[in-house]
């Protein structure tokens, strides 16, 4: 039973000479089997939370703790975190010219699994996972994310999720920029991952529409660098109706009507 435990997390970024605090005491525990939706207005620090957990060098943890099954995540390098079972589906996946998707996937799977997957099984596994996400097999020979559309990049993030099978997956605005079909395909991919094992999901989103495809067990409202309200699925319905104005004082819809 995997548990990701975030306690009183404070995170700053180095902007110019001054440090700017973005996360101001985040407390959140995600257990295997649970899906937590983190919802909040733009600039509330949702993405910072995901990048800080993954270990992006731009963000500095000033206090608090993050543990995965009791292990100190903050002491680990970025790749150690991934091998420990954390996965971040990024909002803006990075292009890596000259590195083929197939080479990248195999290198990543080898690192995460601790041994190179047997070639015959691997080819079948990748083909199957690509087919599940309606990804043209030709993408395997293209450079990682290079020239991919927004939707193609997101499908490939979920492809990596399917192949790397982390204990806890953090999905950072995976729904942004997706059309209706892509949103369905990507959501089905996340649901398949959830059903495949005892895993936990942190789903970061601005809008409620992805929650029609992926049912959260918990919904947290994120504003001003911390969680300001937690509840069940009904909280999302309330945000849908009322937006974030209650939390920010500004009119910002949770779904643009």
């Amino acid at each position: 039973m995997a548990t990701l435990e975030i306690k009183d997390l404070h995170v700053s970024v180095n902007a110019e000479d001054a440090q700017k605090e973005i996360l101001k005491g985040v407390d959140l525990t995600i257990k295997a089997g649970e899906t937590h939706a983190i919802m909040g207005p733009n600039g509330s620090g949702k993405s910072t939370l995901s990048y800080a957990i993954a270990g992006h060098p731009k963000y500095e943890i000033t206090s608090g703790s993050v543990t995965l099954d009791g292990e100190d995540v903050l002491e680990m390098s970025v790749d150690e975190r991934a091998r420990a079972g954390l996965f971040l589906a990024m909002q803006y996946p990075v292009e890596v010219p000259g590195v083929s998707m197939s080479n990248f996937l195999r290198t990543a799977a080898t690192a995460v699994r601790g041994e190179a997957p047997a070639l015959r099984h691997w080819v079948k596994e990748v083909k199957g996972a690509m087919a599940d996400l309606d990804i043209d097999p030709a993408f395997a020979e293209r450079s990682v994310n290079e020239g991919f559309s927004g939707g193609e990049k997101k499908r490939h993030e979920i492809l990596q999720l399917a192949l790397l099978k982390p204990k806890i997956a953090i999905l950072d605005e995976t729904d942004s920029g997706l059309d209706v079909d892509a949103l369905r395909v990507v959501s089905e991919g996340v649901n398949r991952y959830k059903e495949s094992g005892d895993v936990g999901v942190m789903l970061i989103t601005h809008y409620t529409r992805i929650l029609r495809h992926i049912t959260p067990d918990f919904v947290h409202v994120f504003a001003g660098g911390r969680i300001v309200e937690s509840g069940g699925k009904e909280l999302a319905d309330q945000l849908e109706a009322e937006g974030y104005v209650k939390y920010t004082g500004k009119q910002e819809a949770a779904s643009l009507s």
């Binding site: 060098p57 970025v78 790749d79 991934a82 996946p93 890596v96 690192a111």
Partner: protein, 389 residues
């Protein structure tokens, strides 16, 4: 006229701000050493070069040794050793700086490699071994692809010492010549070389320069066209380590209508004092209507203390062209790429190697000789191992 300028990466190149650069058309050439002044290092064409490390090649250093030239010729290819008086020598181009003129004046024997008319031949390898540590040598090589000949010539430089030479590529009408020049010198070596390519009507020239080893390596490839339909592609890969100076100065002289050129050089640098220079000149003269040209240089700076200079120059004297453009960028290692790969569990050193290999991949893929391709991949791998990157 379609001119476009693109910028990629972090640091854009300068457009010669403030310094009026003389037209490339006015560039002086001569077979006579004394026609050139001894350069002091402030001249436009020398200002990036560490003159003190040139073993006096620019000051008339006498030959104290000789380079060994060995040719492993494919069937049908002829190899001759000829004197300077041979009428074929010097046909592809005239020395464009004092060291090239010195090399021309000082060489004793020239090697001429001929790919026969109408034939497609297997790859030929020319191995040039330097004169040895502390010695100076001059040389001359000509590769002649006769009409409709088709083939690959690999020129492999290795060994020690100071060496200056001119290499001529005579690509006759309709011929397809592919050249891969590898500079894999020992750490002490100094090599200053001029490549002169003359392309006949509808000739195709594929020229790849690989520079991996040596203290100072300065390569000046010059392409001229003798007839319409000439097509030149110049590719370069270099990897400079601490203290190494690698300089590449391709010049494409479009003086004939309806010719094409494409120049792509990519380099990586690591270590204190690693220095690379890329000066890419393209001149489209008034007569060269219908020209199509593009040049690109990208540099990947892997560590502090390394420096890449990159200056593309495009001069256009006619509006009636197909297209012309240039781009240049020098960037630090992309931490976002590294983060992305590491976030998928790939350890940092392996992630770095993936990114650097990826950076060179498009150029390595263009090399048609599998042995050369494999050697290059292995060499890049070894470079990366060396710093534990």
């Amino acid at each position: 006229m379609a001119t476009d300028t693109q910028q990629h990466g972090l640091t854009a190149h300068s457009h010669g701000a403030g310094v009026p650069v003389a037209s490339r058309a006015a560039h002086f050439t001569s077979y006579d050493v004394e026609a050139f002044e001894v350069p002091g290092g402030r001249e436009e064409i020398w200002r990036f070069t560490p003159m003190k490390r040139l073993a006096d090649l620019h000051k008339g250093a006498a030959a104290t040794g000789s380079a060994t030239v060995e040719v492993s010729a494919a069937e049908g290819v002829t190899v001759e050793t000829v004197a300077k008086s041979d009428e074929r020598i010097g046909k592809a181009g005239v020395p464009g700086d004092r060291i090239a003129a010195q090399a021309y004046a000082s060489f004793v024997d020239a090697t001429v490699v001929t790919l026969p008319k109408d034939a497609r031949v297997e790859p030929t390898t020319v191995t040039i071994t330097g004169p040895g540590e502390g010695k100076v040598a001059y040389g001359h090589l000509q590769v002649h692809a006769q009409q409709f000949a088709e083939g690959v010539v690999v020129i492999d430089h290795r060994g020690s010492g100071a060496y200056a030479d001119n290499i001529e590529f005579v690509v006759a009408d309709g011929a397809h010549l592919t050249v891969v020049a590898i500079h894999d010198w020992a750490d002490d070596a100094v090599h200053v070389t001029h490549h002169h390519a003359k392309l006949g009507r509808d000739a195709t020239f594929r020229h790849t320069v690989v520079t991996l080893g040596g203290d100072v390596v300065r390569v000046t490839p010059v392409v001229t066209y003798a007839g319409r339909g000439g097509d030149a592609e110049l590719v370069g890969l270099y990897f400079a380590d601490a203290g190494q100076h690698f300089e590449h100065r391709p010049f494409i002289d479009h003086a004939v209508p309806n010719c094409r050129s494409n120049v792509v050089y990519k380099g990586a640098l690591q270590g204190e004092g690693a220095h690379t220079v890329w000066i890419g000149d393209v001149l489209i003269r008034a007569a060269a209507e219908g020209t199509e040209t593009f040049e690109l240089n990208r540099n990947l700076v892997l560590t502090d203390g390394a420096r890449a200079d990159s200056v593309p120059n495009l001069e256009i004297e006619t509006g009636e062209i197909e297209g012309a453009g240039h781009a240049s960028a020098t960037g630090r290692f992309d931490d976002e790429q590294l983060f992305y790969l590491q976030a998928r569990g790939i350890p940092e050193d392996q992630a770095r190697r993936l990114v650097v290999r990826g950076f060179f991949q498009e150029l390595i893929a263009k090399i048609s000789v599998p042995e050369v391709r494999e050697r290059l991949e292995a060499a890049i791998e070894a470079e990366l191992e060396a710093v534990g990157a």
